[in-house]
C-alpha cells in the first residue's frame, strides 16, 4: 500500500499515483518474465487506486508509525480486490482520482 499526498501534500497526487501504478505494472511485467523463465509461474499484480480524504498521522506506538486511516483507504483496497489481474486493464481507478 502506498500513499500519494501525505505526509507532504502535493496537488497532483492522483496523477502521480496513476503513473506509479502504470510503472509498477511495467516493473511487474519485467519481473514476471524472469520468474516465468525460472519458475514457470505466472506472476501478476492487481492495482487499485482511490482518492479522497483520509486521516494521516502517527498512529499507535512507534512500530506502526506514520499511516493513513479512512474510508478512502479501504475503498482503494476493495477496488483492487474486485479487479481481474493483468497488465492492460488491471488498474481500477475511481472517479475522484480521475
Amino acid at each position: 500500500m502506498a500513499v500519494f499526498g501525505a505526509p507532504v501534500a502535493v496537488e497532483d497526487h492522483a496523477v502521480r499515483a496513476c503513473r506509479a501504478a502504470l510503472g509498477i505494472q511495467e516493473e511487474t511485467v519485467g519481473l514476471a518474465a524472469e520468474v516465468n523463465d525460472r519458475d514457470g509461474i505466472d506472476l501478476r499484480l492487481r492495482v487499485g487506486l482511490n482518492s479522497g480524504q483520509v486521516i494521516a498521522g502517527e498512529i499507535g506506538s512507534r512500530s506502526l508509525g506514520y499511516t493513513t486511516i479512512g474510508d478512502q483507504v479501504g475503498m482503494a483496497q476493495r477496488m483492487e480486490f474486485g479487479r481481474p489481474a493483468g497488465c492492460g486493464d488491471a488498474q481500477r481507478v475511481d472517479s475522484a482520482t480521475c
Binding site: 482518492s51 486521516i55 498521522g57 502517527e58 506514520y66 483496497q77 483492487e80
Partner: protein, 285 residues
C-alpha cells in the same frame, strides 16, 4: 447515535440480554431527546425493555431510576401525567435517599420538576420547589456544572409558574447559550484540568503527560519523540497492489522462493512509488 446503533447491533448478536440492555440504555436515552415523535416512541420502547431486564436480572439497579425517570417523561409526553409523576417521584426520591442525587439525581429531578410544573395541579408547584431545593442543597466539594445548568432552567420554569416575570427573565438570561464555554469556565471553573494540554507533550508509548523538554517518559522510560506529527485530514490518492494468487505461487515455488520474488517485487514497486513522490505505507499479506 450511529455508534449507539452499532453497539446495539453487536450486543444483539451476542444473545446476552444484559449486554443488549446496556446497549439499549444509551440509545434509548438519546432517542427520547430527539425531535420527532417516531424517535421518541422508539426510545420509550427501548427504555421500557431496559427497565424490565434490569429488574428481572437484578443487575445495574443503580441505573434503573434514570431509566424510569425518562420513561415517566415519555409517558407524560403522551398525556399520562398522572401515571408518570409517581414513577418519576419514586426515581428521584430513591436517588436522594441513596445519596446519589448528584449523578442520575440531577436529570431525574429535572424531568420530575418539569412534568410537575407542566401539570400544575394542587401542590405540584410546591413539590417542584421542594425537589429543586433538595437538589440545590445536595453537598458537593465544588460547583457541579451539570447541576447548576439544570437548576437555572428549573428555577426559571418555577419563576414562570409563580408568574414572577423578573425572576424568570433573570434565570433565563443566565442560562448558558449553546457553545457558551466561556460561561462554563468563568462561573464554574470547568476546564481547570487544562493540565492535560499544558505542555502538549505526551508519551507516544504509554500516553502519560510529560513536562516540557522531557527527553524520556517518566512512567515507562521510552524516549520522547518530539517529531510526532499531529493527525490531520489530507486529500490523497491511495494505491493498493496485490499479487494475484500469491498462495498458489507459494505452493508452486516454496516459501523461500516466494519471499525472494516478493522482496524483489516490493523493492521495484517501492522504487517506482518513490520516483513519483509517494510514500510506501506498508507491505502486508
Amino acid at each position: 447515535m450511529r455508534e449507539s446503533e452499532d453497539a446495539l447491533r453487536i450486543a444483539e448478536r451476542s444473545g446476552d440480554d444484559l449486554a443488549v440492555a446496556f446497549a439499549r440504555m444509551p440509545l434509548g436515552l438519546a432517542l427520547v431527546h430527539r425531535p420527532t415523535d417516531a424517535e421518541r416512541d422508539r426510545g420509550q420502547t427501548l427504555l421500557a425493555e431496559v427497565s424490565g431486564v434490569l429488574l428481572r436480572r437484578g443487575h445495574n439497579l443503580g441505573d434503573l431510576p434514570l431509566v424510569n425517570a425518562y420513561l415517566g417523561r415519555e409517558r407524560a409526553r403522551r398525556g399520562d401525567r398522572d401515571e408518570a409523576i409517581p414513577l418519576m417521584r419514586t426515581a428521584a426520591g430513591h436517588l436522594f435517599r441513596e445519596g446519589r442525587l448528584l449523578a442520575w439525581g440531577v436529570p431525574a429531578t429535572g424531568v420530575l420538576v418539569v412534568t410537575l410544573l407542566d401539570r400544575g395541579a394542587d401542590g405540584d408547584v410546591a413539590e417542584a420547589e421542594a425537589a429543586i431545593e433538595r437538589l440545590a442543597a445536595a453537598p458537593t466539594d465544588e460547583g457541579l456544572v451539570l447541576r447548576e445548568i439544570w437548576l437555572l432552567r428549573l428555577r426559571a420554569l418555577l419563576a414562570r409558574a409563580h408568574r414572577d416575570d423578573a425572576a424568570y427573565a433573570d434565570f433565563r438570561d443566565r442560562y448558558p447559550r449553546h457553545g457558551d464555554i466561556a460561561w462554563l469556565r468563568g462561573a464554574y471553573r470547568v476546564g481547570r484540568g487544562d493540565g492535560m494540554t499544558a505542555t502538549g507533550l505526551a508519551c507516544s508509548s504509554c500516553g502519560i503527560e510529560l513536562p516540557q523538554n522531557a527527553k524520556f517518559c517518566l512512567e515507562c522510560g521510552a524516549a520522547v519523540s518530539t517529531a510526532t506529527k499531529p493527525a490531520e485530514y489530507k486529500q490523497v490518492t491511495v494505491l493498493f497492489a496485490d499479487v494475484v494468487h500469491s498462495m498458489e505461487i507459494a505452493a508452486a515455488v516454496g516459501a523461500e522462493r516466494l519471499r525472494e520474488i516478493m522482496a524483489e517485487l516490493a523493492d521495484r514497486c517501492a522504487a517506482v512509488v518513490q520516483r513519483y513522490g509517494g510514500t510506501v505505507d506498508k507491505f502486508t499479506g
